[in-house]
């Protein structure tokens, strides 16, 4: 067995720290690296990482991007981009670093985009100090701490009070692995103020034949009466590995919808955390993992009901084929005195192949009594009666199967509110199912 190497990270970390000089978020990085050194890589004995072994990724020597421009050709950017990107605020991340020069976006007084370094050294110092790197979920996990250690050219977005961002914000992550294995650490802080409205889309693309490992953290602060749509579309190459956390703090009463679509990639782990810090928050979380090959997708969700009257609904669906593994681990926490909570969680899986596997762990942790919480989970095969129904009507086996799977997937895809993105995902699924109209 290959040995797991992390010692060299220390060296790289020191290199990066000396390059960046004082004042530049150094203390956060220091804190992050300290946590990482203390905790080490999570093993499978760690309940949160029971079904996903992230360690084996570290048998490689990862290159870690330095300060300075990592460039990539326009051709690759457009190849990586989802259709309709030109109509969006298209933010390009190269090797985990937000690259302003390659991005196309329109800012205004109500809608600011810059790097966290700029925000911290400029007029948003207070925002960064108040909200950056504050979530306990992010801080206590060693993989997240590793992101904090190596973040550089991180993204800062602020949507001001009452502003509706006219174009969706699209984070196009590109990883150049033509030369080395790459460890990228994209980091974002998005503040959505009172009654503002924004949609955020993320996608990932690995260019090159070596392995990429993107270790991402997105912190979203949602204030009173705002509305956020957050989508993640994963259709990377099999050498693209990803651990990503979207941590959404609902600091005021607001509405958040998330959709995570995972279709291709290597080892993928998505953490979607919703922290309901005020009364009467609402969140809807949807996920679809439609896997083949050796792809491993682990969806981890957390709904932390800290205050009364919150509502959350979660639906994650999985179709697992070939040697793939689908994991769902959801957790609903209802804190003491957070009464009148309604929280629902559902995970449905179809296992298509004899070599794939599905692991599911829908959990409830409830410390208040006046609540309605439920979860459900199923693992099974395609409904034989439904197959028979279709085939009795002259539809051949493959097509019948495709129709049923598409219907299964549509439950999730329908929740994507941006038409262009929805069409794109529908197209990818139809392609996978070889379903041509």
């Amino acid at each position: 067995m290959d040995t797991i190497k992390t010692e060299y990270l220390k060296e790289k970390f020191n290199e990066l720290q000396s390059e960046t000089g004082a004042n530049n978020l150094q203390s956060w990085r220091n804190e992050g690296f300290r946590t990482f050194s203390e905790l080490g890589l999570p093993t499978r004995k760690n309940e949160e990482w029971k079904y996903t072994g992230v360690n084996r990724l570290f048998t490689r020597d990862f290159a870690i991007p330095h300060q300075g421009e990592d460039s990539i050709s326009a051709e690759i950017i457009s190849k990586a981009a989802i259709p309709g990107a030109s109509e969006m605020n298209h933010l390009v991340f190269v090797n985990g670093k937000f690259n302003k020069a390659l991005s196309h976006f329109e800012t205004s007084d109500d809608f600011e985009i810059c790097t966290i370094e700029e925000a911290y050294n400029g007029k948003f110092k207070e925002d960064v100090e108040t909200y950056f790197n504050k979530s306990s979920e992010v801080k206590k996990d060693s993989i997240h701490a590793l992101n904090t250690s190596f973040m550089y050219d991180s993204l800062f977005i602020k949507v001001k009070k009452g502003h509706t961002v006219p174009k969706p914000v699209y984070l196009n992550h590109i990883f150049d692995t033509t030369q080395n294995h790459l460890l990228a650490s994209p980091r974002s802080l998005i503040i959505v103020e009172e009654a503002a409205d924004v949609s955020i889309i993320e996608s990932y693309y690995t260019h090159g034949s070596m392995d990429s490992f993107s270790n991402e953290v997105v912190e979203i602060i949602a204030k009173e009466d705002c509305h956020i749509e957050a989508y993640k579309i994963q259709n990377d190459n099999p050498n693209g590995n990803h651990v990503g956390t979207t941590n959404i703090r609902q600091v005021g009463k607001c509405l958040v919808n998330t959709v995570v679509i995972s279709l291709n990639g290597g080892m993928i782990r998505n953490n979607t955390d919703i922290i309901m810090e005020k009364d009467a928050n609402e969140a809807h979380m949807y996920g679809l993992y439609f896997l083949k090959g050796h792809t491993h997708v682990d969806n981890h969700t957390l709904v932390d009901n800290q205050k009364p009257l919150c509502f959350s609904n979660e639906l994650y669906k999985g179709i697992v084929d070939d040697y793939a593994t689908g994991v769902f681990s959801g957790k609903i926490i209802v804190r003491p005195d957070a009464q009148k909570i309604n929280a629902y969680q559902s995970n449905k899986n179809i296992l298509l192949s004899a070599t794939g596997s599905v692991n599911s762990k829908p959990q409830l942790e409830i410390y208040a009594d006046d609540v309605k919480c439920s979860h459900g989970c199923t693992v099974g095969r395609l409904d034989e009666e439904a197959m028979f129904y279709l085939r009795a009507r002259g539809i051949d086996k493959d097509r019948a199967r495709a129709i049923l799977l598409k219907a299964f997937a549509d439950d999730i895809v329908d929740h994507i509110k941006l038409e262009a993105v929805k069409e794109y995902v529908e197209g990818l699924i139809a392609e996978r199912l070889e379903l041509h109209d």
Partner: protein, 482 residues
């Protein structure tokens, strides 16, 4: 204060019924655990060499292990050197031949607990093996059972009289290296029940073990082994109580069940160890490993448990479904009140083809208690057409308690169909209102609704137990309303 309130108050302050101690001479060994302790226990029990070796091996393995920490439980570190590992009521004869030879003080104890060994003989038709502290004090109906070829006796007796059988099956379902407490138990187990049902025999009566901790500072480590050969059937009951004490006592037992082709074993537990007072002082730590192995085809193992006692319950009666067409069932009611904590559930390992399992778990939490369900349903690659249905419902009474669900579902077979559902809620206001409107007071209404909530599980208990369990549930609930 109204009469009703007064009644409620009285009930609320009602104490653990079985909290008395029996003044009886006991043979104990000094506190602490070393290789010598293991040797001493083995020697006291006059065990064969192979068993001592087996115990020592377990002890050495245990030394290398650390106490697991993953359960959703909070308790202080246990000092394993501060426990008495062997305590036996002194009897004049080592093996009482008949009930008349049993110490009358002992018989009185069990009379008080509602298990009259003498009456039992005539009335109920249930064979009982009674375990006090570390040793079995009496087994009834042995003769009648022996006529059918059934062996039902204490583990110590089995080791003396049927060493081949014990040697063949001991540790085959729960190996000594299984987990921390299994290793500890394997090293120091003192007694327990042994039950062997030969081929094709249907056990004519319910077999039952009654466990009682009496001695202070002692831990109870019993080991039960049930072997049902091809085509055999047995229904087995287990009950437990302990005196009230301010320190925590450890109970780390092992139950092993083996079912051959077309055999069926039904194992029912009513667990009522001393739960500690409402502030969480004292009580029994109930850390038990229970596992059944459906070795043969069409075999069936069914666990039914009513858990009302113990300061901390940490156990997962599980079934390994190895034989094709085998069936595993788990029915559980776990009630926690006061400062009790429970982390309990089951494991179903589907290995054979066409195996089925069913899990029904009902958790009721009241007071400041924490009640968790933790269950694993695992389908191996070759387990074609495996089928599982799990349902875990939690009921919360009061706003200071917690109810948690941690199910693990792992499937590696595409023909398997697994379903899991869980709900958590409090008693519906409308249900309560409906009852109260019809003249049923709040407390009775809660008991009624809870009984209904738990009915699916209660129905699976044998008659004799169902009545007791229902009473126990009602008594435990008293004072938790309002």
């Amino acid at each position: 204060m109204s009469d009703e309130m007064q009644l409620l108050e009285e009930r609320a302050n009602r104490e653990y019924e079985f909290g008395f101690t029996t003044e009886i001479e006991t043979d104990t060994i000094p506190k602490g655990l070393t290789e010598d302790t293991v040797r001493l226990i083995s020697k006291k029990k006059n065990e064969p060499e192979w068993l001592l070796e087996w115990r020592l091996k377990a002890y050495r393995h245990w030394k290398t292990l650390e106490m697991p920490k993953w359960a959703h439980l909070k308790y202080p570190e246990i000092d394993f050197q501060d426990i008495i590992y062997y305590a036996a009521p002194k009897t004049k004869k080592a093996q009482p031949g008949s009930l008349d030879e049993v110490d009358p003080e002992l018989l009185k104890t069990f009379d008080k607990l509602g298990i009259s060994l003498k009456e039992q003989k005539r009335l109920t038709g249930v064979a009982v093996d009674v375990v006090m502290d570390s040793v079995s004090v009496a087994t009834t109906f042995q003769k009648q059972l022996a006529e059918k070829g059934i062996i039902f006796c204490s583990m110590s007796e089995a080791i003396q009289k049927h060493p081949d059988l014990v040697r063949k099956y001991l540790g085959t379902v729960v190996p000594m290296t299984d987990n921390f407490f299994a290793a500890l138990n394997s090293a120091v187990f003192s007694d327990g029940s042994f039950c062997y049902i030969p081929k094709g025999v249907r056990c004519p009566m319910e077999l039952s073990t009654y466990f009682r901790i009496n001695q202070e500072n002692s831990g109870q480590f019993e080991r039960t082994l049930i072997v049902a050969e091809d085509g055999a059937y047995v229904s087995y009951l287990e009950g437990c109580t302990a005196p009230r004490r301010d320190e925590n006592q450890l109970h780390a037992a092992i139950v092993e069940i083996l079912a051959g082709d077309e055999a069926e074993v039904k194992y029912s537990t009513v667990q009522n160890w001393y739960p500690g007072d409402e502030n969480g002082v004292g009580g029994v730590y109930n850390f038990v490993t229970k596992r059944g192995m459906c070795r043969g085809h069409h075999s069936k193992i069914s666990w039914t448990q009513v858990e009302t006692g113990s300061a901390i319950t940490w156990k997962y009666p599980s079934v390994v479904l190895k034989g094709d067409y085998s069936v595993g069932e788990f029915y559980s009611v776990a009630l926690t009140t006061g400062a009790q904590q429970a982390d309990t559930g089951t494991k179903m390992n589907h290995i054979g083809k066409n195996t089925r399992s069913r899990i029904v778990s009902k958790g009721i939490s009241a007071g400041k208690s924490q009640n968790s369900y933790r269950g694993l349903v695992q389908v191996a690659k070759g387990a074609e057409n495996a089928r599982n249905f799990s349902q875990c419902d939690s009921l919360l009474l009061g706003d200071k308690c917690g109810a948690h669900t941690f199910p693990y579902i792992e499937s590696k077979n595409n023909t398997a169909v697994l379903e899991h559902e869980a709900t958590t809620s409090k008693i519906g206001e409308d249900q309560l209102f409906y009852c109260e409107q019809r003249g049923i007071d709040a407390e009775k209404a809660v008991a009624l609704i809870v009984t209904g909530f738990a009915k699916e599980v209660m129905q699976n208990l044998p008659m004799e137990f169902a009545v007791e369990a229902q009473k126990l549930l009602a008594v435990s609930l008293e004072g938790s309303v309002g």
